[in-house]
């Protein structure tokens, strides 16, 4: 944003001050993430920048914590990663199916009690997680699903569906319903119409809702802490216990992997958003 030539000096100063403040806030937002990165390659067991690291001495850096993460004895990360992925993938599939169906119904203009139903469907997003955790724990304990994968998957479906409902409803808001009617009038059955016409058009919304559901499940710790037994430990639970007991560099290695994963998810989400806007003809 270049300033016009006629700008008076004190506005100029004000403008640079504003840019400086913005710079500080962006730094505050993003910098903490990048502290983890170099420290995870620390050769020492301390969580501070050693003198060797400050001098960029190659001996001060090592990948031993990554090796420890993968091969370390008694290390729970392998099991935790496996559980995390299994739970997140099934929770995402469940959220997508239930959420998309509900969004299709909700965006029909014939839907009765729309406001009330929408409020119920997105309530897991509004209710503080700790309360959701307590309520879901009571249910799962009664149903005999505490400390099972199925219980955690169901819990994450509860938490993940609101995102799918919201994103898919948003995609459907610009949806031209006459094309599905056209398909029906040309002899397509409802299922075919959905698969061939509706789904491809709302797919970006479905996938980005699915991404939200995946991240929610993958990152969720409050509910899992109530539900998980020793066999159902997930990455966030392991990080939580690790951070409570002792901050070890292995955790930083795991954290670095998670940051890389989130960069990948961010890129996917961003690409999808652009594609969706293009499809819906929104040019901003």
């Amino acid at each position: 944003m270049a300033l016009p030539k006629y700008t008076e000096p004190h506005y100029r100063i004000w403008h640079y001050f504003y840019l400086f403040v913005c710079g500080c806030v962006f730094f505050f937002l993003i910098a903490p993430l990048f502290v983890i990165f170099p420290l995870s390659f620390n050769a020492e067991e301390f969580l501070v920048f050693t003198d060797g690291m400050k001098r960029l001495d190659p001996d001060a850096f090592s990948t031993r914590w990554y090796k420890d993460m993968v091969y370390g004895t008694k290390n729970p990360w392998g099991l935790a990663a496996k559980n995390s992925f299994i739970i997140a993938i099934f929770a995402t599939i469940g959220s997508i199916i239930l959420g998309t169906l509900a969004a299709l119904g909700l965006s029909s203009r014939h839907m009765p009690y729309k406001g009330l139903i929408m409020a119920i469907l997105i309530s897991p997003m509004i209710v503080p997680l700790i309360i959701s955790g307590v309520a879901i724990f009571f249910f799962m304990a009664k149903a005999g699903l505490a400390a099972t994968h199925l219980g955690i998957i169901l819990a994450h479906i509860i938490l993940g569906t609101p995102f799918v409902v919201i994103t898919v409803t948003a995609t459907l808001s610009g949806f031209d319903h006459s094309i599905t009617r056209a398909a029906s009038s040309l002899g397509s059955n409802p299922f075919n119409t959905f698969m061939k016409i509706t789904l491809p058009l709302i797919l970006p919304g479905v996938i980005s809702g699915g991404l939200f559901a995946f991240v929610t499940s993958f990152d969720e710790v409050v509910v899992v802490l109530f539900l998980a037994g020793l066999d159902n430990t997930t990455i966030p639970v392991q990080m939580w216990t690790g951070l409570r007991e002792q901050l070890s560099p292995t955790i930083l290695a795991v954290a670095t992997c998670l940051i890389v994963l989130s960069i990948l998810i961010l890129l996917t989400a961003e690409l999808l958003r652009r594609r969706s806007e293009r499809l819906r003809g929104i040019n901003r």
Binding site: V21, I36, L106, I131, F139, S262
Partner: protein
């Protein structure tokens, strides 16, 4: 064609009726699509939350442990010592409990009602094996002189109802005393009120700090040309997508005594190397970490509102003689109020229920009400108290959400 004749559709049914049928069919179709998720959520989520309420007021435990006693007590007016009948019933009930080894629960529960009840009951458990039949009143009163004190019998009587609101009173540091009056607990034991006010305080200030930081950057993102703003948007979205625990971990590293923030303070000479301030395990840590973690939730709604404000409005204001400051406060700022409302309430609701970050960086003086709920769920196992506090928190959140809905509308929630 007479005017009474109705218009018929092709299959001979009056058009009005045919339309109604089609409408009804569409309604059912739409509803059927929503049904699976709706049923799933009602069964696994809504009913359990409602169940928390019955759990929080449930007080059947003592009632069920002393069935005969409460039956006998129905006649007792509570003014003087109860009759032999009550003593006998209590002896019989208590004997069963001691034999089943569940007397400990009763002792704990009654001790909540009247301090010192536990030891009296324990003594009775030992002595009652030698009791002879008949005249239980005398025998029980001989075991401990407190059995002559009518207050202890009143304490038992108070637990007769199957339902109680005492957990809610406990949540705000009050209790109902022997006469049934609601009074506050001693001043040095009012922990919950401190937690409630601290939770509100932290949520309020975190929201405020988030607003102060998010407003300029959302403005910058909305006014910069697309190619720069897309790049900067990543700075907002990357933390948004990154695991909460990763971000908390990075703050734990930064804020520790030998951490980079302290290094920086020493370097610029703000503090000396020997007395580096403690920035973690207190409120400072909670504030800093929560502000950074919740900041994207403020930036995104602000950004989406600011994006729709046409820059020509500000130019028009300036061309009519307003200084940039006046133009900003009279034109730009009022237009962003929907975004401010959305962002603030979103951050406030999230902050008020925060659990993980305060537990890790908050220490003892930075814990919030959610930590207390989790503590009672996992450590003391006082689930009814945890439920009561959870519902109190939920009520607060629903009130805020209701305001949010009135001001902004639920449909305006935007994600990224």
């Amino acid at each position: 064609m007479s005017s009474e004749q109705k218009i018929l559709s092709t299959d001979g049914i009056p058009l009005e009726e045919s339309l109604k049928q089609a409408e009804k069919k569409n309604k059912i179709k739409a509803f059927l699509l929503v049904t699976p998720l709706l049923l799933f959520l009602i069964i696994t989520y809504i009913i359990p939350i409602a169940d928390m309420f019955s759990r929080s007021i449930d007080d059947k435990m003592v009632t069920n442990m002393l069935p005969k006693t409460y039956k006998a007590m129905e006649q007792w007016d509570g003014k003087e010592l109860p009759s032999e009948e009550v003593f006998k019933a209590f002896y019989l009930d208590y004997k069963i409990l001691v034999e089943n080894k569940t007397a400990g629960k009763l002792q704990t529960q009654l001790n909540y009602e009247k301090n010192g009840f536990k030891s009296v009951l324990k003594k009775l458990a030992r002595k009652q094996k030698k009791f002879e039949e008949g005249n239980y009143k005398e025998q029980i009163m001989k075991v401990h002189k407190r059995w002559r004190n009518v207050d202890y019998w009143r304490a038992i009587k108070r637990r007769a109802p199957s339902y109680t609101y005492s957990k809610y009173l406990k949540g705000v540091d009050m209790y109902s005393n022997e006469e049934g009056k609601i009074i506050q607990v001693a001043e040095n034991r009012r922990i919950h009120r401190i937690l409630w006010s601290r939770t509100l305080e932290v949520a309020f200030f975190v929201t405020f700090f988030c607003f102060l930081m998010a407003y300029p950057i959302a403005h910058l993102l909305a006014t910069l040309p697309m190619k720069y703003s897309n790049l900067l948007m990543i700075c907002v979205l990357l933390p948004f997508w990154t695991s909460l625990l990763v971000r908390t971990a990075s703050w734990m590293i930064l804020l520790q005594q030998q951490g980079l923030v302290n290094d920086f303070f020493v370097w610029i000479g703000l503090v000396t190397n020997d007395n580096r301030p403690e920035m973690m395990y207190n409120k400072t840590g909670t504030y800093v970490a929560m502000t950074q973690i919740l900041l994207p939730f403020m930036v995104l709604p602000l950004y989406s509102v600011m994006k729709t404000i046409s820059p020509s409005l500000m130019r028009a204001g300036k061309s009519l003689g307003a200084t940039p400051g006046v133009a900003f406060f009279k034109i730009y700022f009022p237009l962003t109020i929907p975004g401010i409302g959305a962002g603030c309430l979103l951050v406030f609701i999230l902050a008020i229920g925060y659990y993980i970050t305060p537990a890790l960086v908050g220490g003892a003086s930075g814990t919030l009400i959610s930590n207390q709920i989790a503590y009672h769920m996992k450590s003391t196992l006082d689930w009814s108290f945890a439920s009561a506090m959870g519902l109190m928190l939920l009520t607060g959140v629903l009130v805020i959400y209701w305001i949010y809905n009135k001001l902004v509308g639920v449909d305006n929630i935007k994600l990224g």
